[in-house]
Symmetry: C2
Subunit: 135 residues, 2 copies
Amino acid sequence: MNDQIRRNMALFPIGIVMKLTELTARQIRYYEQHGLIHPARTKGNQRLFSFNDVDRLLEIKSLLEKGLNMAGIKQVLQMQAEGEEARTVINQQSEQKRNELTDQELHQMLKKQIIHGGRNADQSMIRGQLSRFFH
Amino acid sequence: MNDQIRRNMALFPIGIVMKLTELTARQIRYYEQHGLIHPARTKGNQRLFSFNDVDRLLEIKSLLEKGLNMAGIKQVLQMQAEGEEARTVINQQSEQKRNELTDQELHQMLKKQIIHGGRNADQSMIRGQLSRFFH
DNA sequence: TTTTTATGTTATTTTTTCTAACACCGATTG
DNA sequence: CAATCGGTGTTAGAAAAAATAACATAAAAA
């Protein structure tokens, strides 16, 4: 519900995010620079991350490991956002289904997306990795 | 469950805790100095707070507003910790019961505690204020 | 009235983060 | 093969955030 609000609260500095995600500051900033995340800023311009941001970074990391590049990741994340939207309207599916993403599924998603900039493709998801920890 | 672990993860710096609790840094440090909280530290010695810490600070604040002093608050928090322990063993009670603490209840608790340093007094609780936000 | 308590304020130092620039290496491409 | 590009490492210098410590103070307690 307003769970979403909570998850979106900007809470921690980059140092913690580094530990949480095992990414370097350089990487995190680079991803931001390419529009993959949009952490908030303190009055003094320091980044402040939310749980959602960290979640997102974990996804980015996982997608990177699957060989995607910035553009690809951007697409996938964007699709997820759309899916998210749809799902809240429609309904929940089996818990398992949307927690793992096979290479084939991924490939398919990308294909669909790239070929016909289609909305509402397959609903498989990686989301909620950190969420599963910080419930 | 290991919810406890999650809540105990040291995540945010004092700046955020200040906003979350509306306490000044001075106050927060003072309470630590008096053993009311025990935030973790970064390698460079900066305080790192967990959700539990923030929760605790909110309780401290509320107790302060009720006129307790450091010693009194320490007692109450300690009792809560013991109660926590007991409760996990025993069982849950009505949700309402343990979320508000009237002045009389508080007075009684303190009385019991002070008179006969007794363990396991009344189980009324303040706990979980922040928890209710960041569930 | 003197003391104590909780908090404010200020000064100084240390830690953390920021941006920007340059370097590098593996994969692409001309 | 040589040049490019994409993701990351590294470094330097500046700025922000946080730490400790000391002194100040108003209200409460003794």
